[in-house]
């Protein structure tokens, strides 16, 4: 792409000429701003600056291979300014023996000059040449450039050749000519440099949706469906993931506030404690009941802690927390076991001599505890203490809530990363994962 300042005519109108090659009528839409004109009939590339329209090149083109989805002469509004499509070219790069082609439409406004629309697999970019050079960021990998405070990452460098042209161009276009094209991306923008010898031309493109192009040029039908992820296609997932993480941060703060609040509000009253012994060698009824105790406040949990002296053995305690007045019982069993030793892997331990359990939604009232200890004959005597507290915060709920809040944020991030993975898979800097090696 190349452009100079436009030369506005007195009154915009098409100018008619004839092709010196075939005599076909030529329509010149950019007035004396065109440098080359391509004859649609004989595919002669003509020197628009020459009064006799000298033929610069003739090329053969397969008819119908390049269907212009925006016909030459179509007018549309880009960024609020009227433009007319005056030229079209197909450019091709070869990567690992595979040809990739894209289309470029040259747009012209007599007062604003030229801009370009590019299309690849249904992905569109609105491009214009830069008036200032981007700054190359030193020692960066992948290479980066900065322009207007924005950093662009190198995406791909390839040799692009012009394989088909039609209409008018503000530069000396030739079929077969090639330039080195480097793209640097910062979605939704892309900076492209085109180098021919010592001359480098920079342009900036901004991603456009096909439906916006169709709307701008009032084209019939619907645009071709975009295939895959394009180099500067804005990720719909990226913004989503960032927004979800910001919301997650808010929820995390709320979670911490809730935890502190409930911890401060919880009574954590110790309502009972008793010290007992159990001789597993002794036959007979082992069950007993404790003294009664008062459980106050609204219906909430009670936390029962069993502290024992088990050492390489176990004790099982059947508990029933019984309401004296209503006969309602909360029945549960707790095994307390602690084992440790030493083997070829080193020292090991398993279990704990203490156990804590929360009994849910216990209404206020007077309660007693029925305790029935069990143990292996030969285990001997186990000493244990039972402590009951009322209204104790259960921190495991906070862990579950944290996981529940974190899960969607992780899923959104994963989806955003998948989008970026697809984007960079087509670049000179693909993201390598272990799965790609297979």
């Amino acid at each position: 792409m190349s452009t100079g300042g436009p030369t506005p005519p007195g009154k915009p109108q098409a100018h008619a000429l004839n092709c010196p090659g075939c005599g076909a009528a030529l329509t010149v839409r950019s007035f004396n701003n065109a440098v080359t004109i391509v004859c649609d009939s004989c595919h002669s590339i003509l020197d628009a600056k020459d009064p006799n329209l000298k033929i610069l090149q003739q090329f053969k083109a397969a008819t119908g291979k390049d269907r212009l989805v925006i016909p030459l002469g179509t007018r549309g509004k880009i960024r609020g300014i009227d433009y007319e499509v005056i030229g079209f070219e197909r450019r091709t790069i070869h990567v690992e023996g595979v040809a990739y082609s894209w289309h470029e439409y040259v747009l012209f406004n007599p007062y604003k000059g030229f801009r370009y629309l590019t299309e690849y697999d249904g992905h569109w970019n609105d491009c214009s040449t830069l008036k200032a050079l981007p700054e190359i960021v030193s020692f960066s990998s992948p290479p980066k450039v900065k322009y207007l405070g924005e950093t662009y990452k190198h995406f791909q460098t390839a040799r692009a050749s012009t394989s088909f042209v039609l209409g008018e161009f503000p530069w000396q276009v030739r079929v077969g000519e090639s330039v080195e094209v480097s793209d640097y991306v910062s979605p939704p923008r892309v900076l492209s440099s085109e180098q021919t010898g010592n001359e480098v031309i920079w342009s900036m493109g901004e991603y456009m949706l096909g439906k916006d192009v169709w709307k701008a040029f009032r084209l019939p039908g619907s645009p071709p469906v975009a295939v895959g992820v394009y180099e500067n296609q804005p990720s719909p997932r990226s913004g989503e993931a960032k927004s979800i993480w910001r919301t997650f941060a808010f929820f995390l703060l709320a979670l911490v506030i809730l935890m502190i609040g409930f911890d401060l509000a919880a009574s954590k009253d110790q309502v009972f404690t008793g010290y007992y012994r159990f001789d597993s060698n002794k036959r007979g009824e082992a069950s007993f009941v404790t003294d009664d105790f008062e459980v106050k406040g609204h219906a909430s949990n009670v936390e029962l802690t069993t502290s024992t002296d088990v050492n390489n053995r176990w004790i099982y305690l059947n508990y029933a927390l019984i309401n004296e007045a209503t006969g309602q019982a909360f029945d549960f069993g707790r095994e307390v076991s602690y084992y440790h030793g030493y083997d070829s892997d080193g020292s090991w331990s398993e279990g704990s001599a203490n156990d804590t359990v929360a009994v849910p939604r216990v209404p206020p009232g007077r309660y007693y505890l029925r305790v029935e200890p069990e143990g292996d004959v030969g285990n001997g005597t186990t000493y244990y203490t039972i402590t009951i507290k009322r209204d104790v915060p259960q921190y495991s709920f906070y862990g579950i809530a944290l996981g529940a809040l974190l899960l969607p944020a992780i899923v959104f991030s994963w989806r955003a990363l998948s989008f970026e993975h697809l984007r960079w898979a087509e670049s000179d800097h693909p993201v390598i994962t272990s799965g790609d090696d297979e």
Partner: protein, 61 residues
């Protein structure tokens, strides 16, 4: 749209957590038994826990 759904979901999680904490829910399996006879107070052996003779762990590594 997704953010709105996440906000609603997160609020539901926090409300659920608050209800669980206030009402004193627990992750432990507890059986509720109605109308335990008063005689248990004097004769603890007359009540049999649903977890009585539960399969117990009986050894270390």
């Amino acid at each position: 749209m997704m953010r709105v759904l996440y906000v609603l979901y997160g609020m539901a999680v926090l409300v659920g957590l608050s209800v669980a904490e206030y009402q004193g829910w627990s992750l432990t399996r507890i059986s509720e038994v109605k109308n335990v006879p008063r005689s248990v107070r004097d004769n603890p052996g007359s009540y049999r826990s649903v977890y009585s003779s539960y399969h117990h762990y009986s050894g270390g590594k």
